[in-house]
């Protein structure tokens, strides 16, 4: 909880650090800020406290999710390289500040007790993301992406807010436990659920599904991911997704679990639809970044599966999966940033698979990190991703979501096809990539994430038992 206050202040501090002439100090400072916040966050372990007139609640669940979010942010900042040396068009202080602000939003989304806090957290996160998406001001695609994201995001926020209003109208409470009690008692009393509550629940779910980009609310994802500067794509696909699923899980498992039978079918079918649409569409993509966008949608599908199954193990499954997925995604984007900048086509970074051709020859570390992250995303054993999928599948199996399971297994197979494309390009195709110079901290990040992915693949219980 203190991490929220600290991060807000750090964000402001970052803005003012920008006035110093030395912009090299920004990245280390931001890293220190995040580490400090991480420490504050971990200090809340094993305490359950309600804050600010029951607005926020910190417990082990929120600490865990906050940790995943902060770790992902840390990794993204570590590969940001101070946002380049372009004095005129790059504003690192502002970027870092906005990133910190958006993390504040994300943390609010995992600690909320009152639905208003969910809404505010979501808005802080979203508005920050709109800005960051459009931060490459001279790039038309970046502008287009930001506008699209904003338009559709505003729409989704409206739906979410409408849902909150309806739920309040039906239950008379904003507190998730208050709503939960109402729903459960309603069930006990055998009285019919009112359409108002029903529609409210659906609209809230839909609003959140938009944020985590589940089909059919996923349309913004590929365009926005592709248009946004890659570093923010990495941020978006890890932090926003984790926060979104944390919020969705918390809401469904606390407030609406009493009406499980009413909303489960929606998620059940949307999960299958998301998996099919994302994986099938990803097959044809030629751009690595766009492929990663569809990959992100497909992972939303897998996560939806465990949310749908609503088992006791669901929260640790979400956490493990989010962690494994975040690490692998950041690694993949980190490699892509280097490679695409190294190989430009028409003066712009080449983001297609062809850019990776022959990577392994002169850059074995990059190729290996990429391969490990891709294998993890594809869910190949001995990587973290395998266990992530495994836990999710076993949750779904316990609930008996057979259709989803069949679809998910088939689509995992399809996934292997497109995840292997960059591996094949970097190891088996001829290319002429020279050795790319990597900064030490960048290299360290790559090594750490790669080792983590393998370590979690070998010993999943190391982390799974904590959650």
């Amino acid at each position: 909880m203190n991490s929220i206050i600290a991060l807000s202040l750090f964000g402001i501090a970052n803005l003012f650090l920008g006035f110093l002439n030395n912009r090299k100090i920004l990245m280390p400072a931001t890293l220190a800020f995040i580490l400090f916040a991480l420490g504050l966050n971990l200090a809340d372990w094993n305490t359950e406290v309600l804050w600010f007139n029951n607005m926020l609640r910190t417990n082990n669940l929120s600490v865990n999710f906050t940790t995943v979010i902060l770790v992902a942010t840390l990794l993204v900042v570590a590969i940001s390289r101070g946002f380049g040396d372009d004095e005129e068009h790059s504003h690192p202080a502002e970027y870092y500040a906005i990133m910190l602000f958006s993390v504040v939003g994300a943390i609010m989304m995992v600690t909320f007790e009152n639905l208003l806090m969910l809404f505010i957290g979501l808005e802080i996160l979203s508005v920050s993301m709109y800005v960051l998406t459009g931060s490459d001001k001279r790039n038309l695609r970046s502008n287009e992406a930001a506008l699209k994201y904003f338009l559709m995001g505003a729409f989704a926020t409206g739906i979410l807010l409408f849902g909150v209003a309806l739920v309040y109208g039906a239950t008379g409470s904003f507190s998730i436990y208050g709503i939960g009690n109402f729903v459960t008692e309603n069930r006990m009393g055998q009285s019919e659920i009112t359409p108002m509550l029903y529609v409210g629940i659906l609209l809230i779910i839909i609003g959140l599904l938009f944020k985590v980009s589940a089909a059919p609310f996923h349309f913004w994802t590929p365009d926005v991911y592709e248009g946004a500067p890659t570093i923010f794509t990495a941020f978006m696909s890890t932090v926003v997704k984790t926060a979104g699923f944390a919020a969705l899980y918390r809401l469904l498992s606390v407030s609406f679990v009493g009406e499980y039978g009413k909303w489960v079918y929606l998620l059940y079918f949307l999960c299958a639809a998301t998996l099919i649409i994302a994986n099938i569409t990803a097959v044809y993509q030629q751009s690595f970044k766009r492929m990663m966008a569809f990959s992100s949608i497909s992972h939303a599908g897998y996560l939806l599966m465990t949310v749908t199954s609503n088992q006791a193990t669901t929260q640790s499954s979400i956490l493990f999966y989010s962690l494994a997925y975040s690490i692998a995604t950041v690694t993949a984007f980190a490699v892509m940033i280097l490679v695409s900048e190294n190989k430009t086509s028409n003066g712009k970074p080449d983001e297609s698979f062809d850019a990776f051709k022959g990577l392994a020859k002169n850059n074995p570390l990059l190729a290996f990190a990429l391969a490990v992250s891709m294998l993890s995303l594809a869910g190949i054993p001995l990587t973290a991703g395998f266990w992530g999928k495994f836990f999710i599948f076993s949750d779904a199996f316990k609930r008996g979501l057979i259709l989803d399971l069949i679809v998910a297994v088939l689509m995992s197979a399809v996934g292997v096809y497109y995840y292997f494309k960059p591996i094949i390009a970097s190891y088996m195709k001829e290319g002429n990539i020279q050795e790319i110079t990597i900064k030490p901290i960048y290299k360290l990040t790559l090594i750490i994430t790669t080792i983590l992915t393998i370590l979690l693949g070998l010993m999943p219980d190391l982390v799974k038992s904590i959650f």
Binding site: I12, L15, F16, F19
Partner: protein, 122 residues
Amino acid sequence: MNYQPSDYLPILVQLGAAIAFIVATMLATHWLGPKRHSKLKDDVFECGIESIGDARTPISVKYFLVAILFVLFDVEIIFMYPWAVNFKALGWDGFMEMIVFMGLLLLGFIYVIKKGVLKWEK
């Protein structure tokens, strides 16, 4: 009194009739009225003077920035009215909270000035 959704059916019927009437009238005038086109008749007309250029003129982005900042700070001030009214009831806690709030606002203002947003001429 317990209404069923089917009780609203008459309203739907009336709505349908109203829309149908409008559509029908518009279509009718479209078909029935005579139309003659000529260059002069279709030309843009502006008080007797020939029109020049586009009606949309670009305005400096600074204008929007200043406008937005004005609205921002203006709206924040509104926040102080309810606080002032309840000043006594809120006591020292309220006072400190307002100080924090104003402090943050002030920081924002300093940031804006240091960024040079308010300098019209560079």
